[in-house]
């Protein structure tokens, strides 16, 4: 059945390498750059919100349940639905803005939870020792607690980044650009080369980001590295 389907199409080739080489610099490279830009900006904004929020929640424990409830609720809304809700809000039009808002919203739960977990894992004796040495609360936070929590925070950044790179492909549906645009254009034009190129590149980008951040996480945890 599959063979029949393919032979009924004029060109049975799944990948036209000529198309890839012809459009490499004009279409493919900008799509990769756009995708990286969307993901990077979103993770950066999400971190700028999550780090202070995580520290606050760590200090004021009562806030933990409401904060994780709200961010958890955001996290469980399917991306296409969240995009739909966002572009229904007057003043928000299709384009990169609602995509970035949604991507930031998805990162909050993971980043805040990992920030708190990382700070929780700092041994009490270490903090006592720092206080004994005369460090103030803010010095302890910046020089002792946050550096020790860093590997767990980076682990959160890793999960958030991989998630975001994946969801960013769907953002192309509301004109966010990036590699998802190649996937949607390929589906609309029934042009497998574009679909496969976009999907494979998005997958590679996610896997490369995953491995790179895993390497960073290991580098920040020299004690675990030595044991392994």
């Amino acid at each position: 059945m599959l063979l029949q389907d393919l032979s009924s199409i004029e060109d049975p080739k799944l990948i036209e390498w000529d198309w890839i080489s012809d459009n490499f610099w004009e279409d493919i490279v900008p799509a990769i750059q756009g995708h990286i830009f969307l993901s990077f900006v979103s993770v950066a904004i999400a971190l700028a919100i999550s780090l202070p929020t995580g520290v606050l929640v760590y200090r004021y424990r009562k806030a933990y349940t409401p904060v994780t409830f709200v961010t958890g609720l955001l996290y469980s809304i399917p991306s296409l639905a969240l995009f739909g809700i966002l572009i229904s809000i007057p003043g928000i039009t299709i384009g990169p803005t609602p995509v970035i808002i949604a991507l930031v919203a998805y990162s909050l739960l993971i980043l805040i939870r990992n920030t708190v977990a990382g700070l929780d894992a700092v041994p009490a004796e270490t903090i006592d020792a720092a206080r004994g040495m005369g460090l103030t609360d803010s010095q302890i936070l910046l020089r002792v607690e946050l550096p020790l929590a860093l590997p767990v925070i980076v682990a959160g950044i890793r999960i958030a980044t991989v998630t975001i790179i994946g969801i960013a492909t769907i953002g192309a549906y509301i004109a966010g650009g990036g590699l998802g645009k190649m996937i949607f254009d390929g589906i609309n034009r029934s042009f497998p080369t574009m679909i496969i190129t976009g999907a494979v590149l998005a997958t590679l980008l996610a896997i490369i980001a995953d491995l790179a951040l895993l390497a960073l996480e290991r580098y920040l945890r020299p004690w675990a590295r030595r044991r392994a």
């Binding site: 599959l2 296409l80 996610a206």
Partner: protein, 216 residues
């Protein structure tokens, strides 16, 4: 708001909802039927488990739209293609959690069970599976939520489901239809999350719950 309710009363809404649930449930069940036996088969080999966990981790990194889109050129448009793609999405979380859950059962507990005269399969059904159950169900929950969310994308490859309302709303520039589709998908996802969360708690053996309360 009343406009949104009108959309939910449309005769095709029920059909789309049915497709969405059918697609998700089928993908999840087939995913469990593949991932669980594999995890059981490799539970005692460290190479197999390491392999399963690493392949599962890479599988989790693959964007859901990429999996759906990649199936389309090979399998064409339609429900079946979406089902294949969503099944592929359902497998990694279950495989990772079942493998780690079964491997993390403490060695001394298994030794004690062996010493009491339990056979290999008795150790599996009476010791390993009940202790690993919460972790395995957490994997199934992750999987279920992901599948219900990704089933929204099935519409792009002709698989139907509630995503069709979102596409219709966007194409017609009709905010009411767009919101009706978005809200119903969101509610379905949240129900899945909460429902499977309850299932996860129900599947935690009583002994483990007491141990958790005491702080182990």
């Amino acid at each position: 708001m009343s406009g949104i309710l009108d959309v939910l009363r449309r005769p095709d809404f029920f059909e789309l909802l049915r497709q969405h649930i059918l697609l998700s449930a089928a993908a999840l069940l087939i995913g469990i039927a593949i991932a669980l036996p594999v995890a059981l088969a490799i539970r005692n080999t460290s190479l197999g488990a390491a392999l399963a966990i690493n392949i599962g981790n890479i599988g989790r990194a693959v964007p859901s739209l990429a999996i759906l889109a990649l199936c389309q050129p090979f399998l064409g448009f339609g429900f079946d293609t979406a089902l294949v793609a969503l099944t592929a999405l359902a497998i990694p979380p279950i495989l990772i959690n079942a493998s780690t859950g079964l491997r993390e059962v403490r060695r001394d507990i298994i030794d004690a069970a062996r010493g009491m005269g339990l056979s290999g399969s008795q150790v599996l059904t009476r010791i390993q599976l009940p202790i690993a159950a919460p972790v395995i169900f957490a994997g199934i929950r992750t999987s279920a939520v992901q599948v219900v969310a990704s089933a929204t994308l099935a519409t792009f490859i002709g698989g139907g489901g509630l995503g069709e309302l979102i596409v219709e709303g966007t194409q017609l520039n009709d905010t009411t239809i767009l919101l009706a589709g978005s809200f119903s998908v969101a509610v379905l996802a949240i129900i899945t999350e909460v429902g499977f969360g309850a299932l996860e708690r129900a599947m935690t053996p009583k002994g483990l719950k007491i141990a958790q309360k005491r702080g182990r």
